[in-house]
Symmetry: C2
Subunit: 619 residues, 2 copies
């Protein structure tokens, strides 16, 4: 850390989170500027910086800022600061008890169980651990340990002082966490209950509405509410509006009233309008929730009840991922990131499994989190999150693979044959979620298919998830891609289609023909089957890749984000795509408007003696 | 016009379009400010205006600006400046020949068949006239009279100098025009052919892709392209990206390449990738298109071919709508707007039909455009457009009706009984489009249901399209609403559902029960059936309405726009809702980003010697 440049005002937090409060401008900078205390913004230099600072000085600032204040997405229950996770038989209890001073950043306190990204990283981790470490769980109760308050939602002061990019990434991650709850409920049959022992407002109610059932205490005071529009001039950013009308199917006029009513609605009216499932008096609240939990746990499903299967097994431990980071790289066991920051792109490489992997569910369970499919995709997931929030200047990711096609296909065969095993099912669902995280990442992805690569089966999804793919056409070398049965149903996109279906919307038979193809595809066969975008020959290869990278990284990053969000999701839309497409895009728009974030905006002025002043023109 | 305030630099254009280039600040304003020449911006005063000018001075400026520079959406072929519309038997030819100096505003020239809102108002009018005045038409050829250029898309300099709100409204209107082409093709069976006698770029290709078939001349030079992302740092704003992957189902990696390739693709490759349907050499282009047109025209449909029916009829004339405007009102025959600008809301009143209207299709045809259903909805359509672009400060519209419920239901009965008559069908489709225009209008709508109102059948759709409804509950007075068979399928929203279906997503049986209800609903029955939001009694009525208006108009207009865009479209999404929701929202976001519209942005710097400079962080 260069003391002349950054003044560190607090020790890096335990989970690898650091922060800087201010910086001293370099000697050759004439205009002193305050950079916001939000650790994320510190590497957001003004656009006109080139007028003020030399590139080399800036590069040093950025490097130092980067290594000092990265956000770490790994945690574990013994490190949780804000949640208590406990288990009793088939019931998990996830209790929110936010430590108001344990913030990811300076400048705000997490009062009233409000949250910042750090709180949500723990929630996401807890849900993962329930799935992998406690397959016996059939009901998850999400509640609060604070009296009279369930959760006040995302912290307003945190939002008010965050950069636009951070707000957008924060909302995306919290949305993914809530979708992970619904994924668990839908695919693994665990039932999530929101036990609202007090008021749930904003993101607090949005967390509740991601659960299957919502129970609210009737204490004459506690309410559910979405006060974002009336109080903050922004939208509930975590899917609330969409889930209101699409999941709970609240009548749109009632949804309109509810979403503009700062104080929200209490028990009886909230139940009548479908905002909650039931309400209990304070003295009966615990019993009411417990009774419902007991009903769920005692239900014995038929053949379709995948949970019954789980009860025979205990879970596996999710150990911390091992990462070696340097200034230009980040290496996991099976995944590597190599940063070319001067060229604004990164290489993301996934390595194939070894050849001697187990072939049965029980053997896989013995390997635990060291089994390739789980470990590689956990690493890939972490790498994607790292790229999103810690590497904002990287616009393009070149996706590469290394290893034997046969080994990847062998893993797919094992996974397909054992998909009824609880751990294999959870692993496949984790792979699917990671691939969706890639679909939703605001970076361009180009797959680079060269000799020694292994884009086969599950790893061919990386090609299908990429915006483009380049496959070397050289008759003298083996370059292959291959499909497996996992490509035809196991990894749905957010829109409900497989990536192969999405690719061949115009000619569905091409998807069937590609799947029916015997063995791997060489470059010409892959090109003919429509599986890759370009198949340059050996002579053109280097130039073509270089030019493609240069061209892509020269384009407006905002236009690319909007374009990719439009082109990646052809075909049907689902509640998920509505949340990430329609709702998120509107929120991003509002997050930039002066009425929200200008000096007189509602978000800026929240809690201040000054009041928001609006430009009332409708757009 | 107050010369001391506004300096008029040109005569108001023929279609009622005026413009001002600059203004002289009032004597009590210390800081002279240039207001953009864009006529729309002239009434966009800076947010901090209250610090500088007294409210009364400002109100005068705004009033004068308003009456002097309103955009008029009415036109007719004899007034067209940019299009030639000709008919030969069953073929209509719509030829683009943009007059580069006939702009809606100062500061740009419409070179190379580029367009501004004025050009698109003529296009929208032409499509309406084909439908109503020429029911015999079976094929519409859209082409250009300029050599080697079909259309260069929306004018960049116009976009670069327009306000954010104007860009958003411009894109919305052009989107609706393209959806009207598809509506005609889908529901009235007319086939639209884009005969690209030269390059179609940006909005030019987006116009082509709204047609059913696209033919491109193969002259070694002409191409189709979407250069917005690479050249301008924005998205193709008129549905191009969505139609690429959803309508033409172009493979997403090819769509990615195409949408980042400024020069686009020429004949052969364009056809291979599915961007066009065919390509003809220059000398064979006319013959090739004519031959395809002849095929279409000679096709004789079966029973389902609604066009055969049309051939027995000649069209009706769409006469100009009569409008009386005052400073505070805008009155058509059946529709009135009353502006309460100090309170930022307007009353929109629709009056019921008379009682002695015709009951057969042929009698309706004799009445022509004077028939209530057509006239009232044409007026409503114009009123909505007027509210959108000429009254930006109006945030809330109180929807009211006047007249007899029985008369509205009688019209609905006639329309339903004669829906196979070409004119009735076109009228119903026009009503459906107008109601969708309301769904897509960025204003809040409250329906106010009082004694003497006639929210019945087609007019009950206004209640269902409103964000909320208030119905007076007073046992001493008759207050009624009613449904008709037109409420159950005739007026689909953009998402494909009827508004009754959308309302009762949670309990579809409620929609059936409401429909099965005998006769009109009084207030308590309407409330019990879930047809209205609130039913205040006589004592509370005035206060409740006043408070609802005050509260709504106090909220952030941006948050309301985003909230309403999310709550109005529950249930399925279609290509239309993807265009208006996902794509439009992303474009609106990008339209605000410094990378597009900042001093170094791509849109700002287009065509200038300076080059765009991007902040390359991905968001």
């Amino acid at each position: 850390m260069n003391g002349a440049v950054f003044k560190t005002v607090s020790e890096p937090a335990r989970a690898g989170l650091g922060r800087f409060d201010s910086y001293t401008p370099p000697p050759n900078c004439s205009r002193p500027t305050l950079i916001h205390s939000d650790h994320y913004r510190i590497i957001e230099f003004p656009n006109e910086r080139s007028n003020e600072w030399s590139a080399s000085v800036l590069a040093r600032f950025e490097r130092e800022a980067r290594t000092g204040c990265m956000i770490n997405f790994q945690t574990s229950p013994d490190q949780y600061k804000h949640w208590k996770l406990s288990f009793a038989g088939a019931v998990a209890r996830l209790s929110m008890d936010v430590a108001e001073d344990e913030t990811l950043n300076e400048g705000y306190k997490l009062k009233l169980n409000s949250y910042d990204l750090g709180v949500d990283i723990e929630l996401a981790d807890a849900i993962q651990r329930i799935r992998f470490e406690h397959p016996e769980v059939r009901a998850v109760v999400i509640t609060s340990l604070k009296p009279r308050i369930f959760c006040a939602g995302a912290n307003i002061y945190m939002l008010g002082t965050s950069s636009h990019a951070f707000k957008v990434n924060f909302c995306k991650f919290t949305n993914e966490t809530r979708c992970a709850i619904e994924d668990d409920s839908h695919h693994s049959g665990r039932r999530y209950l929101a036990a609202l022992n007090g008021t749930a407002s904003g993101g607090g109610y949005e967390l509740a509405i991601a659960c299957d059932e919502i129970y609210l205490v009737d204490d004459g005071n506690s309410a559910v509410s979405l006060p974002e529009v009336p109080l903050l001039g922004v939208l509930p950013g975590t899917g609330g509006l969409t889930r209101l009308v699409d999941k709970r199917k609240v009548r749109r006029d009632r949804a309109d009233v509810f979403s503009t009513l700062a104080e929200g609605l209490k028990g009886k009216r909230a139940k009548e309008w479908g905002l909650i499932d039931d309400t209990f008096a304070t003295t009966k609240f615990q019993d009411g929730v417990d009774e419902r939990v007991a009903q769920i746990v005692n239900l014995r499903g038929g053949e379709g009840d995948t949970q019954v299967n789980n009860l025979r097994y205990s879970g596996i431990k999710l150990n911390p991922l091992e990462v070696n980071s340097s200034d230009d790289s980040r290496d996991y066991k099976y995944v590597s990131l190599q940063f070319h920051r001067d060229k604004r792109y990164a290489d993301l490489t996934v390595r194939a499994p070894e050849s001697d992997l187990p072939a049965t569910g029980d053997e896989i369970q013995k390997l635990g989190d060291d089994y390739w499919a789980l470990r590689a995709y956990r690493e890939l997931d972490d790498a994607l999150l790292h790229l999103r929030v810690n590497e904002p200047e990287i616009g393009l990711v070149c996706v590469r693979t290394e290893g034997k096609v046969a080994n990847v296909l062998a893993v797919d065969k094992t996974l397909a044959a054992n998909r009824d095993h609880w751990l294999v099912r959870e692993t496949l669902l984790q792979m699917a979620r990671t691939l969706r995280r890639m679909d939703l990442t605001a970076k361009s992805f180009f797959s680079i298919i060269e000799p020694g690569s292994c884009f086969a089966g599950n790893l061919f999804e990386l090609v299908l998830a990429s915006d483009r793919s380049y496959m070397l056409n050289n008759p003298d070398e083996t370059v292959e891609v291959a499909l497996s049965e996992l490509n035809v149903g196991t990894f749905p996109m957010s829109n409900g289609l497989t990536r192969l279906q999405s690719r061949f919307l115009a000619e569905p038979k091409n998807a069937y023909e590609a799947f029916a193809h015997e063995g791997p595809f060489d470059t010409e066969a892959a090109d003919a089957a429509g599986l890759v975008t370009f198949a340059p020959d050996d002579l053109d290869w280097d130039d073509e890749i270089r030019l493609a990278i240069e061209e892509r990284t020269s384009l407006s990053p905002d236009a690319l984000t909007g374009m990719e969000a439009s082109l990646r999701f052809a075909g049907p839309e689902t509640m998920d795509t509505k949340i990430y497409g329609r709702l998120t895009a509107w929120q991003n728009w509002i997050f930039q408007r002066p009425n929200a974030v200008g000096p007189n905006g509602a978000l800026t002025n929240y809690g201040k003696p000054t009041q928001a002043q609006f430009d009332y023109k409708r757009t």
